[in-house]
Symmetry: C2
Subunit: 146 residues, 2 copies
């Protein structure tokens, strides 16, 4: 049995409308869907555990929490390596979108919002479609198990 | 062997000066030190894994990462229960203080910063010393293993 087998049951998970609108789909990991925020100002990715009705990490089962931690670490390492960031910001806020989602934002000492958090600082600057597609393809390949 | 035994080796951990200045010590869990931000505007607590030279969660060993997740869940549940919050904000940012620290902030739909994140919104309003001491005592008791 692989990890994948443990976490496939998706009950009645439907991605939140706002996340659907603001993000681009990257890949489904064992537990979580990985999204890319459609904002070219930062490498900004979001893990959404495919579980319905969950808004806090502590509402996941313990195996799900540990899997989310593993996926967060995997995604975080790959992103920091690929984008050569200075710092990773990892956050589960959820004040606006209640569906549990965990931001992973690669930060640079010379990015537009540094050293502040990115939320609410600058309006999103959407990617050109081809640019987004190329980036998603690259991240997807880097995340795939060897 | 208990969890406590696994995580006592503290190598050369020293709490960051800024955290020391801005926070009040609450308790040492197996891996992390729990601090309370000295700001009476929000129930705002911070977990600091007692490991030197670590600024990203993914730099911890896998057992340490999973222990941090367990401590985060324990602290998050206790705080949300005690303070009857509407949402918990959990975040490892570290743009200003590099030492790995994970914010746990109980949010209310009518708090001063809602729905924005709390960082940089309003200058801290320190507790009166007796008020802080009473709160820390209460949180410490709630966190203690039954």
């Amino acid at each position: 049995m692989t990890d994948q087998d443990n976490f496939t049951s998706s009950d009645h998970f439907v991605l939140d409308d706002r996340l659907e609108r603001d993000c681009i789909n990257v890949i489904d990991l064992a537990l979580s869907r990985l999204l890319m925020m459609n904002d070219r100002q930062y490498p900004w990715f979001i893990l959404v555990p495919r579980r319905a009705g969950v808004s806090e990490i502590f509402q996941l089962s313990e195996p799900e929490q540990l899997q989310l931690q593993r996926e967060s670490t995997h995604v975080g390492r790959v992103l920091m390596d690929m984008f050569a960031g200075d710092k990773l910001n990892v956050a589960a806020l959820g004040n606006v979108v209640a569906q549990l989602h965990v931001h992973h934002i690669v930060r640079y000492r010379d990015d537009k919002a540094w050293p502040d958090p990115v939320w609410g600082k600058h309006p999103a600057q959407p990617f050109a479609p081809a640019e987004a597609a190329a980036l998603v393809k690259k991240v997807r390949a880097a995340l795939a198990p060897a």
